[in-house]
Symmetry: D3
Subunit: 121 residues, 6 copies
């Protein structure tokens, strides 16, 4: 299974259409280099990779891209607890405002999915 399939699930087609609409070359680089080359590397499991991605996006303060990787983390098997710990810890390194904004985005992502994710792994 491609990394995109694993992380984007049933949204893969919609996400790819949206990326292509933004820029076809950027889409190709994101697909072929970012996802299927770098994120697909062995040596670190996809769940850990998505928790790292969440940390990087909290640092950047990029809410839309953060939402995509919050969903990706859940698809890669992260529990809600692991995602919350990742965000909580980011407060130490990146400050409380960034961590708080990320928690609010997590809230939105969880609400949009209706069914709660399991609190414990």
């Amino acid at each position: 299974m491609s990394v995109r399939k694993a992380l984007w699930g049933e949204k893969q087609e919609a996400i790819e259409e949206s990326l292509k609409a933004a820029d076809e070359d950027l889409f190709r680089y994101i697909r072929d280099f970012a996802y299927e080359e770098v994120l697909a590397r062995p040596g670190l499991d996809l769940k850990t990779r998505e928790l790292l991605a969440i940390t990087a996006l909290i640092a950047l303060g990029s809410p839309k891209e953060l939402a995509t990787h919050l969903e990706g983390a859940f698809r890669a098997g992260a529990t809600e607890r692991e995602v919350r710990e990742t965000i909580l810890q980011s407060a130490l390194f990146l400050g409380f405002p960034r961590a708080l904004a990320a928690m609010r985005m997590l809230e939105k992502v969880l609400k949009a999915h209706g069914a709660p994710h399991p609190r414990e792994g």
Copy 2:
């Protein structure tokens, strides 16, 4: 075992002296809040926490603090491969210059230790 003991190992005393010399209250906050409260939380293992810390410090561009957490990651059981994957992946989110600077810092940390860390986990 305290989180500091686990992550700082034989350097614990030296690190604590250095933190105290910088500011006693900041030292207390780092010890009691950052390490023994937040990093000590269950829900995420210490190795993963240190890989997240490395990502956050690459984002900040803080070389000295990065070195501390590179060593912490190894003490928490991360392989050199896992640390390299963490840094490589950061290039996607934070750009190549930040990833390259982190790899150069990893080089220094590995050299300072003489004995190589195992390449494979």
Copy 3:
């Protein structure tokens, strides 16, 4: 009076509900560590602390959290003039785009309050 009461005023309950809804542990850390431990320290008055917070939030580019501390600065006794000077000065260190975005957020905060804050202290 607690620091939260001083800075959040009649919005305290609403803000706390909103923080709790985001994450209960993050709420506790913000309440007990950030507000009632660090911001409550003597050695710097609350008004100055809020002007420093505004500067940090301009640097982060965090509009929602900036709004909270703009209101906090006014509750702590800052004049509109002092807040504008704080934002103006940030242009020197953080660039004009960040300062401009902060001024636009100040505009919104002032409008939401209807009554103008006194221009002079």
Copy 4:
């Protein structure tokens, strides 16, 4: 022709009203120092200056100010291709999330203008 006229075109009056409403002194600094002193310097053409501004704003993650300079770049003679290359390249230095957010903002700017900009210079 003033730099503002060249970069803001028929929107000059609206932009200036909006800046003045935010803060009169900040408006004066942006007009007299940023635009008519620094951006007006010889030694680098306005088109290149706007591509540099786009890069800086991608780094800051400031979408509203980015939109203004995307339009400014087109008024200064940049082709859509040159703007896309500027954004694509930013992925290398600032990461894919920032580049993607900028491409989405470009999409909005292009749509708001109805008529397509020429793809090739």
Copy 5:
């Protein structure tokens, strides 16, 4: 007294020579716009302005420029305690690594001056 005289004291000439050597136009902008226009504005006292500058420089992670403004804060009448509180508070908004790096720079500045600054204001 000029703002530069107030903040740079006996180092004014050396700092100005060093700025001129870097770039004469940048020197003029820093002197005439940053210092004698913006930082010279009434509405906020110089001590508060320097504490704000310290916060902005902690956010940027710019150690050399931070050292200049740590000294400037002392010349403008800030106590060591006020400077330490400013740095401590920055941990909440910008994370512990940035605050720690700033405390270490403060240590260097204090040592370079030999005589201790008064701990209490």
Copy 6:
């Protein structure tokens, strides 16, 4: 001629050895993706690309990588004047401290080369 040859000149071998020593995979990505795929794209000349890179690196505050691209800009045909204008302009968007640090790095790069670059293009 490869982009690396054009931008790194006689230092190509040394830079590549240094990159390989840091991490072989990161080296390959920088060589094959960053340089020979993205920076090699038509649509924007190499000189403009290096001025954009300088702006991005000023934003990141990455001095070592900035030095490499300052030299790259000169090899790609930028005049000292164009490089100085690029740095000066960055003060508007990224603040004076970042611009000043970049000018000091330019000073070092120019001194290391002995012969002055032509001031005018």
